[in-house]
């Protein structure tokens, strides 16, 4: 029984925190609200830290680390709202690695930047593989795929793909006429590929609407389990990112609750504030426990990974919504002003809970996993 960070993992986290601290990401997040170019390009930092190759086998030049290590890096990025394309890259590298694709070497060293085009595995009430819609609850099918030997032609659109802008290689999922999923590596500059950069409320989140018009790419040897794993890895990563943001919200709230006085008492001494912040702590530690579960199960108990990653996302979504609002409530009026940092975390919470299927899809998946296991 050893359910804690190893020394290497402590080191990995410290170095990630150090690498990111060289950039004032929070200040950049402020400026980016009015000038998107203000965001620093943290890709070189990620490459230098070896993050692109985190989940790639050593044989292909990667670090061959575990899912939990990737989650620690995502947590550090979330802590300071750093716009590092972890969410887009790592699930893509997981698919490329499983398929032993030719691009692995270049990807591992950061010469070639992949982006995962998220595709949701089937469930009880949704038999096919689906993608996020531009708007509304109903999910469209993944792009149509026509397979011709090693090349695949994709036609279809996928909305709000994290970290698609600036990617060199799109790792997408299509469906053949029979509905079978097929993994495809499509160069971003291939004919028939268009990536429309979009911003939605959280200026630190790079998003692109991806369109394939008969775009051609390499067929990847990656079956449904690998593609499902990539989806749940993305769920766990966005949960870990949110956990980092929750920790910062809690630290800022506690600090203010000690300094701010009203009616002769520090506001943290009032039960309504004290209990609200212990609730932030409770949600945070529940999310952290499920981060551990997700990281551990992907390597040691793969059949529990869908449940673990979905539970982590479910807890993280609730925790961040509550923490970001508590941060503003504790500060009173100034917490809701443009100059204050609190709204940056509120914006991160509002958008991240509506990407990659949304938090409510993860909660539904937890129920489904339990029903099938019951």
């Amino acid at each position: 029984m050893n359910f804690a960070l190893s020394d290497e993992q402590e080191l990995l986290r410290e170095s990630a925190r150090g690498a990111l601290s060289r950039h004032n990401t929070i200040q950049a997040a402020h400026e980016a609200l009015e000038n998107p170019e203000a965001l620093p390009d943290l890709w070189p930092t990620a490459v230098e830290a070896g993050w692109p190759g985190l989940l790639i086998g050593e044989a292909h030049g990667g670090a061959e680390l575990g899912a939990f290590d990737a989650l620690l890096v995502a947590e550090e990025c979330g802590r300071v709202l750093a716009c590092v394309p972890v969410l887009g890259i790592l699930p893509a590298t997981a698919i490329l690695d499983a398929a032993g694709d030719e691009s692995l070497q270049a990807v591992a060293v950061g010469e070639l930047r992949p982006a995962y085009v998220p595709a949701r595995p089937p469930s009880e009430d949704e038999s096919g593989w689906t993608v996020d819609p531009a708007s509304g609850l109903a999910r469209p099918a993944v792009p149509e795929a026509t397979v011709d030997g090693d090349t695949v032609k994709l036609t279809g659109t996928v909305a709000f793909v994290p970290d698609a802008p600036g990617a060199d290689l799109l790792v997408a999922v299509g469906a053949t006429s029979s509905g079978d999923p097929v993994a495809v590596a499509v160069p971003a500059d291939a004919a028939g590929v268009s990536i429309e950069e979009v911003v939605r409320y959280d200026a630190t989140r790079s998003l692109g609407n991806v369109r394939f018009d008969g775009a051609e790419g390499r067929k990847l040897e990656a079956g449904p389990e690998v593609l499902a794993d990539a989806w749940y890895l993305a769920q766990a990563l966005i949960a870990a990112e949110s956990l980092g943001a929750v920790q910062t919200c809690l630290d800022m709230s506690v600090e203010y609750a000690k300094e701010r006085f009203t009616f002769g008492r520090a506001i943290g001494s009032y039960q309504s504030i004290k209990h609200e912040l212990t609730e932030v702590l409770r949600n945070q530690e529940n999310t952290r426990a499920l981060q551990y579960y997700a990281g551990w199960s992907r390597d040691d108990k793969p059949d529990e990974f869908p449940l673990a990653a979905s539970a982590a996302r479910s807890a993280a979504g609730h925790a961040l919504d509550h923490a970001a609002r508590a941060l503003i409530n504790v500060h009173g009026g100034i917490g809701a002003t443009w100059e204050h940092d609190a709204p940056l975390f509120f914006r991160r919470s509002q958008l991240s809970r509506r990407l990659l299927g949304g938090t409510h899809d993860a909660v539904d998946r937890v129920a489904e996993e339990m029903f099938t296991a019951a």
Binding site: L33, D132, P133, A134, S135, G136, L137, A138, A159, F160, V198, R200, Y201, D202, L207, K258, E259, F261, T262, F263, G264, R265, A266, Y270, S272, I273, D321, R325, I328, N329, G332, G333, I334, G335, A336, T337, W338, E339, P343, F346, R347, Q350, L351, R353, R354, L355, G358, T359, H360
Partner: protein, 404 residues
């Protein structure tokens, strides 16, 4: 039990409706930016027209330009203005709260000098109470007014959350005139010209980027002896009058800040998957239930008002219900529509950004619940450490504790 007007109310409503029908053409558009002088001037002119027709300050005593009518007539005017889709008065704070304070506590010179121009929109007023370090604990304001031999005052300090400061002519400012007595005792209320030397006004932008409020800085601002309202040292009593009128205006707000359930239902109804989803329906059903309760509690409050009963602090629960229901609606709509609901152009993005600030505007939920728990349920108050201690000593203790 009925929602219809009494005969007198019905005839008054007709009068108001007829006037609005006849004068609608002169009305500016309901929405425009407070930064745009031409727009605010058009709103001043429209308020003057309303005042001359007796539709502004209707509850003011007749000798100051009002009609001496009751809260029901005030609500009828508000309903009819909404129905005619024309803007209301520009200076709701001046007419609703600050004017009545001058009527109650001002000298005869102050009443005759200020009330007329205020009512007619020539001079807009703003409320200079809250400070960065004194929000809920208003009596802990630190803005300092020192009196010279000749009786004039010099004011230094900062006020925050001031609506309309950017085009107000005057402000009603709560300042500390004696720091060596317990905090409630050393306060005085001043009338301050917003164009006076040493007054600096800065817009305070909210999450959405728009400046709903202002910060105002006072550096050695000179005030004449006759700037005092309600007497030196009586500032807290004068301020309580303003806060009582503030609660009156919130209490009478019928639909609760304009968040209505039909608008939320319509946003979801077009999505067939959402319309049939039982989780969406449970969440929408709970939101609609809360907002309907606010509307019908509003009718109960109006009925009490019409019988001369001033609504108690529990009227503030309407704001808690409304804000929390609107927040839940923003979450539901974002979950259904997805990221597009958060796009700057979307009608929902502004609401979602506005609500966290609104939650603590006019007093945080926790302070409201303290007041209601003590005044309505009769529960005992918390032990108070700040009573009976000179303000200066209190400040020293706080600094020392924060340093620990």
């Amino acid at each position: 039990m009925d929602l219809n007007d009494t005969p007198e109310q019905a005839s008054y409503r007709e009068e108001v409706r007829a006037w609005l029908e006849a004068n609608k053409a002169d009305a500016p558009s309901p929405s425009g930016s407070s930064e745009d002088k031409a727009y605010t001037d058009s709103r001043r002119a429209w308020q003057r027209k309303l005042a001359e027709a007796g539709l502004a300050g209707v509850t003011w005593p007749p000798e100051y330009g009002g009609r001496g009518m009751g809260p029901i007539e005030q609500v009828i005017i508000g309903q009819e203005i909404g129905r005619a889709q024309v803007p209301g008065i520009l200076d709701a704070i001046g007419i609703g709260m600050l004017g009545p304070c001058i009527i109650a506590h001002g000298t005869e010179e102050q009443k005759s000098r200020y009330l007329g121009p205020l009512l007619h929109g020539d001079e807009v007023w703003c409320q200079l109470f809250s400070e960065p370090a004194a929000g809920s604990d208003l009596a802990a304001v630190q803005a300092r007014a020192k009196q010279a031999e000749d009786g004039s005052w010099t004011l230094n300090g900062q006020k925050v959350w001031t609506t309309n400061a950017q085009f107000a002519s005057y402000g009603l400012l709560l300042a500390r005139t004696d720091a060596d007595v317990p905090k409630h005792k050393g306060l005085t209320m001043f009338i301050i010209p917003m164009d006076a030397e040493g007054v600096t006004i800065r817009g305070l932008r909210q999450i959405s980027g728009e400046a709903e409020f202002n910060e105002v800085f006072f550096d050695d601002v000179k005030l004449d002896a006759d700037a005092v309202v309600g007497g030196v040292g009586n500032g807290w009593g004068t301020a309580l009058t303003v806060l009582m009128y503030e609660r009156l205006t919130i209490g009478a707000g019928s639909e609760g800040f304009g968040y209505n359930s039909t608008r939320f239902a319509r946003a979801l109804a077009t999505d067939d998957a959402a319309r049939a989803d039982s989780d969406v329906r449970q969440r929408l059903g709970e939101i609609v239930t809360e907002l309907l309760a606010v509307r019908f509690n509003g009718y109960r409050a109006l009925t009490a008002l019409s019988k001369g009963q001033i609504p108690g602090p529990e009227a503030g629960l309407a704001k808690v219900t409304t804000v929390n229901a609107a927040i839940a609606a923003g979450e539901l709509i974002s979950d259904v529509l997805g990221p597009d609901a958060l796009d700057d152009q979307s009608e929902w993005s502004y609401m979602i950004s506005f609500l966290p600030g609104l939650k603590s505007a006019g007093g945080t939920e926790a302070i409201l619940r303290n007041t209601i728990g003590e005044r309505v349920l009769g529960l005992p108050p918390e032990p108070r450490l700040d009573k009976g201690i000179p303000f200066s000593e209190l400040r020293a203790k706080e600094k020392e504790a924060a340093a620990r």
